[in-house]
């Protein structure tokens, strides 16, 4: 019996069960909701969120109140940078990828240095960085046109590529495999869990805690930047603050995936399911015929109910 409860408490299984239930509900409410083409569309949107959430997941796993509120700003900035570098031409894609990765890594580096060298709490540091990024976006929009996606990039994101799945889904699967490999098969991954569960002990054991943390924030920036690049391919051209919608949802996807905000335990597979769960939920709400206001209320309330399924804090005991 306890074994059954143990399995039922697995966040990945909870998320998968909820996704199945929501798909069933969606299909009952509006037939065709769970059709192949529709699910594929949902997966593309989920992939964008999931890639941002990969970086968020790493930062959160690293503990010490790790969180990255600047991801939304990096997504927006990266979309603009990519749009301008490639400017609608396939030949510019490699350079655009480089520019995006560099942008993301740079802002991640700033975040990481602020958190480690200056010991600013991550929430504060990345919040301040978000303000800087938003200001930077205004400056850039003033002087530079928003830029266009190269046809090949748009095709990569929206058209079937292999086995009927678009390239971005394969990219996301690749990110998932990479994350699983990093977290469970490398020293780096073991060290993430080590600093996340007990920083002091990890430090004593010789883990370069500061360098680790800087690396985590840089990875978060890079993942956000890659998502920004893909988002450009998805929407064709970048527009103001496209990335803002990813900031808190990326954190919720991580939480729904079973990684508590206190860090040190959890993984990325759950987060992927969490991202799909969020996107399916949002999509169901758009198919139901209610006002935007009602939709928001239902969304907020459902998020709260879903959170009840996941790691609630422990009760206090004397």
């Amino acid at each position: 019996m306890s074994r059954v409860i143990e399995i039922a408490k697995n966040p990945l299984l909870i998320a998968l069960a909820l996704i199945a239930a929501l798909l069933f509900l969606g299909n009952t409410l509006s037939p065709g909701f769970a059709s192949g083409g529709q699910i594929l569309r949902l997966l593309i949107v989920a992939a964008l969120l999931g890639i941002v959430a990969a970086g968020q997941n790493l930062v959160i796993l690293g503990g010490r109140e790790g969180i990255d509120l600047s991801v939304g700003g990096v997504v927006s900035l990266s979309a603009i940078v990519a749009g301008n570098v490639m400017n609608g031409m396939d030949g510019g894609i490699p350079l655009a990828i480089l520019a995006c990765v560099a942008t993301g890594a740079l802002f991640g580096l700033f975040n990481g240095l602020g958190v480690t060298l200056l010991r600013i709490p991550p929430l504060v540091m990345t919040l301040g960085m978000l303000g800087v990024l938003q200001g930077l976006l205004v400056v850039i929009r003033q002087g530079i046109p928003s830029g266009r996606a190269a046809p090949a990039l748009s095709e990569f994101v929206t058209r079937p590529f292999l086995l009927g799945l678009p390239g971005i889904i394969w990219l996301w699967i690749g990110v998932g495999l990479l994350m699983a490999f990093i977290l469970h098969r490398t020293v780096f991954g073991q060290r993430i869990y080590a600093i996340g569960s007990n920083e002091q002990a990890a430090f004593m054991a010789g883990v370069p805690v500061r360098r680790m943390r800087v690396a985590l924030f840089m990875l978060s920036g890079v993942f956000a930047a890659i998502a920004g690049l893909c988002l450009l391919g998805y929407s064709g051209s970048s527009f103001a603050n496209v990335g803002e919608q990813y900031m808190l949802p990326s954190i919720i996807a991580v939480v729904f995936g079973g990684t508590p905000l206190s860090g040190g335990k959890g993984g990325y597979t759950g987060t992927m399911a969490g991202a799909v769960l969020l996107v399916v939920l949002q999509s169901i709400l758009t198919t139901i015929n209610i006002d935007e206001s009602g939709r928001q209320m239902v969304f907020g309330a459902t998020l709260l109910v879903l959170m009840l399924f996941y790691g609630r804090g422990r009760g206090l005991r004397a």
């Binding site: 919040l127 808190l248 009760g315």
Partner: protein
């Protein structure tokens, strides 16, 4: 205005002791520097008129920062303060409109507004403290809910406030602008609140939940109390927003949430709880206002202003965190 600093710190250095007792000193210093800089770039910006304008615009942020401070005391956070302010804003606007916009209707609407803020705070407190959900994501979820509710009450921005309301808020009585009376009343209120048992208990919970629980404090009730207080102050902030903008907007507060968190940190309170002052948060809200006006007066090209503001706030946050930590470790 007074301060509540954690009573159990013992420091050797006098600087540290001073910081431990008045954690908002760094913020106060930044405030003075910014005032001087403002005066250098535009002497007019220190005129009575300009300062009145500054207070009128940033009183709302001051109140939101205070609201946030009480939950941060207990090591919680509330990402829904902006949404609560929006909800109260549209509630009182619609009520005042329906009741004819007279003096009595304004008072009745404000009363309802406070109750709405209190109810929102209780909801937050319930989901975070009683249901034990993680504060960041749970209050984000409630903020979506509150925003939806605000959109039900007023789907699009634009319904005007009754003349008597914004005339009063922007008016002058006995030669002194109304907002200064509000500021004075706020100072007294905060002074009294700092002396209440709830303020001390919130700090105790933030210092160590387990310890607070073991010494017999009703931790859950205290945290709910913190959120309730936060909701009420968010409602008060909404009154100021309404007075300043003279209209209803279901999304007006959204952008202010993160500023309120920044102000709390800038004011010297620790996000990890157990340590801080509301005075610091009020000063920090003014700092954010002064940074914005300084960037403007220094002749920054309009599209660079947001960027420079962002950098300046980030820099101020760093200085604030670095200096105030010296008072604690």
């Amino acid at each position: 205005m007074t301060s509540v600093s954690s009573p159990t710190r013992q420091d050797n250095g006098s600087f540290r002791a001073l910081l431990g007792r008045f954690p908002f000193l760094p913020a106060l210093l930044i405030l003075v520097v910014l005032l001087v800089l403002n005066g250098i770039f535009e002497p007019n910006s220190l005129s009575f008129r300009s300062l009145t304008g500054l207070v009128r615009t940033y009183l709302a942020l001051m109140l939101l920062a205070v609201a946030q401070t009480y939950v941060v005391y207990a090591a919680d956070i509330d990402l829904s303060v902006g949404a609560i302010a929006s909800l109260v804003n549209v509630t009182i606007i619609v009520l005042m409109q329906h009741m004819g916009g007279g003096g009595l209707s304004v008072l009745a609407a404000l009363g309802v507004g406070v109750l709405v803020g209190l109810a929102c705070g209780l909801v937050n407190g319930f989901v975070v403290a009683a249901l034990r959900l993680q504060a960041i994501v749970a209050t984000f979820a409630t903020s979506i809910f509150f925003t939806g509710l605000a959109l039900v009450i007023l789907p699009v921005a634009g319904m005007p406030a009754p003349t008597v309301f914004w005339r009063t808020y922007g008016g002058t009585f006995f030669g002194i602008p109304f907002v200064f009376y509000v500021a004075a009343a706020l100072a007294i209120l905060l002074y009294l609140l700092a002396r209440t048992r709830l303020a001390t208990q919130l700090l105790a919970v933030g210092d160590g939940q387990q310890a607070a629980f073991q010494s017999g404090l009703p931790v859950t009730a205290i945290r709910i109390g913190g959120y309730a207080l936060c909701g009420v102050f968010a409602a008060l902030a909404a009154f100021c927003i309404t007075g300043d903008t003279a209209s209803g907007d279901p999304l007006v507060g959204a952008k202010m949430t993160l500023f309120s968190v920044a102000a709390v940190v800038l004011g010297g309170s620790a996000l990890s709880g157990g340590f801080g002052t509301v005075a610091g948060s009020v000063i920090a809200a003014l700092i954010i206002g002064l940074i914005n006006s300084l960037v403007f007066f220094a002749g920054t090209p309009s599209h660079w202003q947001n960027f420079v503001q962002g950098l300046a706030i980030l820099a101020a946050l760093m200085v604030g965190v670095l200096v105030s930590r010296r008072g604690r470790t």
